[in-house]
């Protein structure tokens, strides 16, 4: 549980952070955010970076602001700051409901929005929310800034489309405080780690007659990375939200996913959980939309 030696940098601005990432180009430099995933990896020597660039004192990565049809959270926003924010509570209650279920109070106090997404844990809670809320991940690197849709951001287990010298600066989430729109996040929590064995984030938009206009469903823990459950969404669109539709829609929860099992839950059981939890999330979200 002792890390190998590494250099430690704590820049005071984004410009300074980026130049540190460039100047350490030869070695394996890691960006340190809340450290809730990276530090255990370093202590187990599964990661042995030559240098860490700690973003704790980079002011440009902080803050929660409303922007058009959504809200923008700085990458270094902690889970607790997001949960505690009236803006997030009002405009994206799905984020609050999901983050309340992350880890334990210590993890929620230290873990960050940007760190969680950049780490891309296949059982992380926030990635499911990000895909369900059509998040836009904003990153900066030597070639300037760019925005990456969440659906293109997660590419494989612990792998994103970020370049090694790019840093997540902020994440924009689509707001859901609209008429006849409801959201929900439900998970089967691993009893030891608190990670999602399976987690489902649902956004349901109803028509005036109560039928489903459209739905966005994000799923985590089932495949190698969080993904939209398109089969579920398509089965809901235009339908009345009744038992028949729900059963039909939920049966598609794990479609197209490369389901992997572990010592806690086999692939078969995970597929079953995905279907059960997708149904529950949709029912809860639709209830809030009414």
């Amino acid at each position: 549980m002792y890390p190998s030696d590494f250099a430690y940098h704590r820049p005071g601005s984004l410009g300074e952070a980026l130049s540190l990432l460039q100047s350490n180009g030869d070695g394996d430099v890691k960006v340190l955010a809340g450290g809730q995933s990276l530090l255990p990896l370093i202590k187990l020597r599964l990661a042995q970076p030559s240098a860490l660039v700690d973003m704790a004192r980079v002011p440009e990565l902080r803050g929660i602001v409303e922007e058009g049809d959504g809200i923008v959270l700085g990458a270094m926003t902690t889970y607790f700051q997001a949960i505690d924010s009236p803006v997030v509570q009002r405009r994206c209650p799905l984020i609050v409901q999901a983050l309340r279920q992350v880890g334990d109070p210590q993890v929620r106090a230290r873990g960050t929005i940007g760190g969680s997404l950049a780490h891309a844990d296949p059982a992380g809670d926030l990635p499911a929310v990000a895909v369900a809320l059509d998040a836009e991940i904003r990153a900066i690197g030597p070639n300037g800034q760019r925005s990456i849709p969440a659906s293109d951001f997660f590419v494989d287990m612990l792998t994103t489309s970020l370049q090694p010298n790019e840093v997540v600066t902020a994440v924009k989430f689509a707001a859901t405080d609209r008429p006849r729109t409801g959201t929900a996040y439900v998970k089967h929590r691993h009893p030891a780690s608190g990670y999602a064995v399976v987690g489902v984030a649902a956004v349901v938009m109803l028509n005036e007659d109560g039928t489903c206009n459209a739905a966005r469903v994000g799923i985590t823990g089932v495949g190698t990375h969080a993904a939209r459950a398109k089969g579920v969404e398509q089965a809901l669109a235009g339908q009345s939200v009744d038992a028949n539709t729900l059963g039909q829609a939920a049966s598609h929860a794990a479609d197209g996913l490369d389901v992997t099992g572990d010592t806690y839950a086999s692939a078969e059981y995970r597929r079953h959980l995905a279907q059960v939890l997708a149904r529950r999330a949709i029912v809860e979200a639709a209830g809030r939309a009414r």
Binding site: H188, Y264, A265, S266, Y269, H272
Partner: protein, 81 residues
Amino acid sequence: MPRADNFPIFELDRTTTPAPQNPIGAKGVGETGTIASSQAVVNAVVDALAPFGIKSLDMPLTPERVWRAIQAARAGGSSGQ
């Protein structure tokens, strides 16, 4: 919450029946309460699953193990355990 001063008065004595199964006649009593609790939980789950015809389950009762027992009972009428 019961406290020490709620404890009943009792007399101490010693048993004079050595266990025949081991050379020194000792009996384990230190964790008798702990040992029984997990069986009580398992029995409660097995009782809850009685409508499926499930008569026994092995610990640990992970969610998947309970789910599999129900699936097996539905498929063949036998719990498979």
